[in-house]
Structures are given as C-alpha cells and as structure tokens.
Amino acid sequence: MQAFKNLDAVAAPIARPNVDTDQIVPARYLRKPRNAGFGNFLFHDLRLDKDGRERDFILNKPSYRDAKIIVAERNFGCGSSREAAVYALWDYGIRAVVAPSFGDIFFGNSLVNGLLLVVLPAAAVTALIGALEAKPGARMGVDLAAQTVTGADGKTYRFEIDAYRKRCMLEGLDELAFTLSQRDAIKAFEARHATEMPWV
C-alpha cells in the first residue's frame, strides 16, 4: 500500500447522499481483472450513456477532470462490499473523499488500499461543497499529519481519525504482514478456542 501524501488538488463536489458502490462501479465490471484500468469504470453509468456519450456529470466537466478529491454528502460508499469501488476511485486518481459518513465496508476497503476517507460534520461538508460550487475547478488541501482539510475558500477544518488508521495511511503499513507476525498468538487462540468450543 502506498503511503498517503498530502494533497493540494482539484476537488469535485458530488452533492448527493447515499452514493452507493453500484454507482461507483456497476456490477458488470466486477469480473474484470485488477489491471483492467478500473478508472474507466468509475461512475460509469453516471458519466456515460448507453452509446458511450458523455452525460452531464461533474467529472466530465473540463475543470474537474484532474480531480483527486471528492466531497460528498452522507453515507458515501454504502451498499455492496465490492472493493472494485475503491479500485475505480484509485485508478481514476482520487486520493481522498470527504463526507459526513461512509459505508462501513467501503471504509475498511479504502484503508487497505491507501484511499483516505475524511469524516467531517454535515455542516462543514455543506460549506466545503458550497465553496467548491462557487469556484468550479478550485483546489482543496488535505494534510493528514495535521488532520486538516482546507476548503476552496481557504477555511480550514480539523478532522478526527483513528490513530491506527492514520499510522497505516502515513506509513503505508501492510496490515497482512503485521498479522502474519502475530502467528503465535493466533495459534494459541486456536488451541484454546478448540477446547472451549469443540463443535466449531
């Protein structure tokens, strides 16, 4: 996993709640191999019509084509557990998403792939979206070490992040390698568990 680098990048406001992972990447692309370029499938049916023509969608607008940040309303990434939703955002170039809440499974999937999810109160997100809509193509800042997001109007918001998550993101830590180092503890647990619940 890549370590998170601070961002000063174009941010696209997606001013809607409940952006589900079916919208982020439609199910028919889940059969594609990981190296298929999932960026092309990002918001596929919102970006393109059935003939492949571009729809009126924010990421199609010239000022947002280089967006690396998305700001959205509550429950972004809800629904299906498909990790391809994170692959699609990542391959497209998105490195951070700011919202008042996220789908729990999407939240876990983002962490292991280096995509930073920033949770801010709904009022702060509304203000960030307002500032972006006032200046299409404006940039925002994300500083993970300082735990701050700077809006298009220069206003800074502090966000909370779990210490573990922050460290993983900053150092690009590999969770699986760490767990494998805990093999003895797992073996000991297994032995105890098998005695306590032999039917399992």
């Binding site: 028919r28 594609k32 990981r34 557990s81 729990d104 876990g108 292991v112 969770e175 767990t179 503890a185």
Partner: protein
Amino acid sequence: MPQSQSAGPRTLFEKIWQSHAVVEREDGQTLLYVDRHLVHDGSRRAFEILAERGLKMARPDCTFAVPDHYVPTTSGRSVGAIADDEARAMVTSLTRNAAEHGFTLFDLGDVRQGIVHVMGPEQGVSQPGMIIVCGDSHTSTHGAVGALAWGIGSSEVAHVLATQTLWQRKPRTLRVTIDGTLGPGIAAKDVILAIIARIGAAGGVGHAIEYAGSAIRALPVEGRLTICNMSIEAGARAGLIAPDDATCQYLAGRPYAPKGAQWDQALAYWRSLPSDPAARFDREVSLDAADIAPMVTWGNSPEDAAPISARVPDPAAYDNVERRDAVRRALDYMGLTPGTPLADIAVDRVFIGSCTNSRLDDLRAAATVANGRKVAAGVHAMVVPGSELIREAAEAEGLDRIFRAAGFEWRAAGCSMCVGVNGDLVAAGQRCASTSNRNFVGRQGPGARTHLVSPAMAAAAAVTGRFTDVRRLLAN
C-alpha cells in the same frame, strides 16, 4: 465454554466479540478469530492476492464455498453454457481454487448449491456464537441464528484466507425493539423496510444492530434471516437476533450442525448467548409491530420506503435541500410523478428471489397469493429459489406448479436478478417489483427501476399488474 472476560451484563454482540478476541491493541483495534469463512464466485480477486503474496490458506476446513452470483438460473444449466467468457471464468476459478486449497465447495450441479447466505444456515454451517465473514455485504444475514456476521472486501477476504482473522474496531451497539403482533399479510420484509425508513440508510453506520422484542421472537428463522439480511441497507455491517428454541430447532439435524455430545455442549453455550437483561446498548430504537403495513419503496435508497397506502412524495415538501434534491433525482430516475398513489404504479417485471427472500417460507407466501390467479397481461414474473434444496422442497409440495400455472417462470438457484451479473436483467425503463434488497440506480440493469417489496406483495403485483395491498387479495 468460553470464559467471561469482563464482569457485568453484556450484550449478545459483546459476548461473541470477547470470545473471539485474539489480540487487543491499545489503538482500539482487535484481532478477531473467524469461525466460518464463506466464499462465492465473486471471490476470485482475494485468491489472486493470496497467490501474489505466496501465502497458503490458514483454515480450508472452516471455509465453505458456493457459486451464486454468475451462475445461470435457466433449466439444464451448466458452467460450459455460460456465454460470457469473463463470467464463466469467475465460476471456474472458484472450482479451481477449491481443488487447489482444499475447502468445501457445493458446485453447480450439487443439490446444496444456492445463494451463499441461504446455503450457510441451510447446511448448519452458520451457528450461534460464531464469527462469520464473507466477501459480500449481505453476510449480515447469518446474524439471524445468533452469529456475529459481516461482509468484507477482497483484501479482507485475502487476510482471512491467510490468517483466519480480521482486525476490527469495535462498533457501537444499537437495539431495535419491535413489540406487538404483526398484522395478517405483514412479512419480515415489511418490518425491515419500516425500520430502514425510520432510521435511514446511514442510521446504523458504525453499529451492530440487535433486533429484539416480541414480534422478532415470534418470527421463524426464515423471517429473521430476511431482517438481518438488510441490516447493511440500514448502514450496519452486522445485525443479530438472540438464539432461542426456534434457532435450535432450526439447526437440529442440519448436515454441519454439531451432533451427539457436542450438540448438547453447543446447546448449553447457545443458551448463554442472549443479551443479559441489564445489558446496555449505545442506542435504542423501538417500533410497534401493529403499525407496520405492507411496504413498497419508491426511490433509489432502501430508506425510500412507504406503506402501500401512501403516495409518491413531493420533493417540494422537504425543507432539507439535500433530501429535496435526492427525492427529485430519484423520482426522475424512477419515472414517477409526485402525489401518485403507490397502488396506482404499474409494473413490467416481478422478481421473487435473492438472499433476502428466496427461502421456502417466502415462496409459500408468494404461492398463496399466486394460487388460482394469473400473472397480469404484459407482466413478466419469475421465481428463483435460494438453493437447489429449496427448489426441490418447493417442487415436492407443488409450489412450482402453482407458479407455472399462474404464468411465473420457475428457475434454478442463484443471485439472479438481484444483481444481474448472470445476465438476468431488467431492461432500461422497465419497472420491477422485486423481493431483493437494493433499489439502487442501475442495480438490476442500466436504467432499471426497482421497487422493493415482500414476496407476497411481489406476487400481488404480478397478478394485478400494479402494486396492490396484498391483504385485499388474502381476504378474498
């Protein structure tokens, strides 16, 4: 039996969590041991990650697999007959991985094949007090037997394959209590849609939900599976129901349930699992069972659910700008006019199936409505049992004949039109009454318009051609 690791009253969730904690770190993360790992034909990426890292599976003996997402549901089906090369490769990769790693697979052609969340309880693989995970968000289903079960992504699946564990931050607890008696014709599906309409699609984010109350206890395990299944639609990764006599009776004699002395030992443990009377939950919500009517969704989030007597909402009636815009977008996509009675909305398709509503009780409820009636002109309706065993059982009691006589298609088991990756799709602009779990934009196919309902309500829509209060048909 596991030792109690903390004094004081505990919830069902806390008991399971504590008995599976391998390592607890100061940063709040807990390494949890996984008792059952369920795998399906969408799990290929996780095995690739395992191979890329040169790792072996930790516990193939605790891993159970079944192809469900990409399998055809047509009669006489076979893997070779899957026309799409990439879809076929998803199914064959599961067969190959099972052979290579040695886990249990109920492959296409095996009577135990079906939707992974139907197979687990049906085979007795899913049991009270277990931690169960699967690379599918509807893994919450298994909480209905008193397990702690949740969906994970491919990287987490690979982590479980390699270590049989997962790192988790402890979620908060939410108890949803439904007391009272459900009215005639009211199904578990109506209950969970009413709950989601109340707390919202993000209402359970960061929580494990325990469903409690007399109306929940009165439900058979099948109905509890429907409730827990849609916990994720309320934003909660996991939903649980305390194991009771109904749970134990349901599991007794199932192929992978404990046997003999171990059954007695397991039973004693299961009886200790329900939340202690004085246990505290972080949040509490309650609904009165008597208030719940047959529900229909009108929008593109499961929270957009209303009683059949309601009308399509008017976006202008919402003060909240976010909500107003979301409703306007949903009505535009769904092709609905504000103020239209839900009972006036005509349907093109009816789908009875999915991990939410494809069990024998669901099929019986739909068949009761379909019996002696005909699918309305211009409506295409199909029934997809949740497993081949359910299909056989339904056929043994003649449900297939009732459905066929009414004009429904009777299919073989799989996820089918809930997610459409096997080619069972709703065409753009068509409106589908569906017993599945997601009415998202494009979920059943690009441009498809999905309305979530119970099996009885789906059958009522099929035979009348529009959403109809099923209680009217049952009264006749």
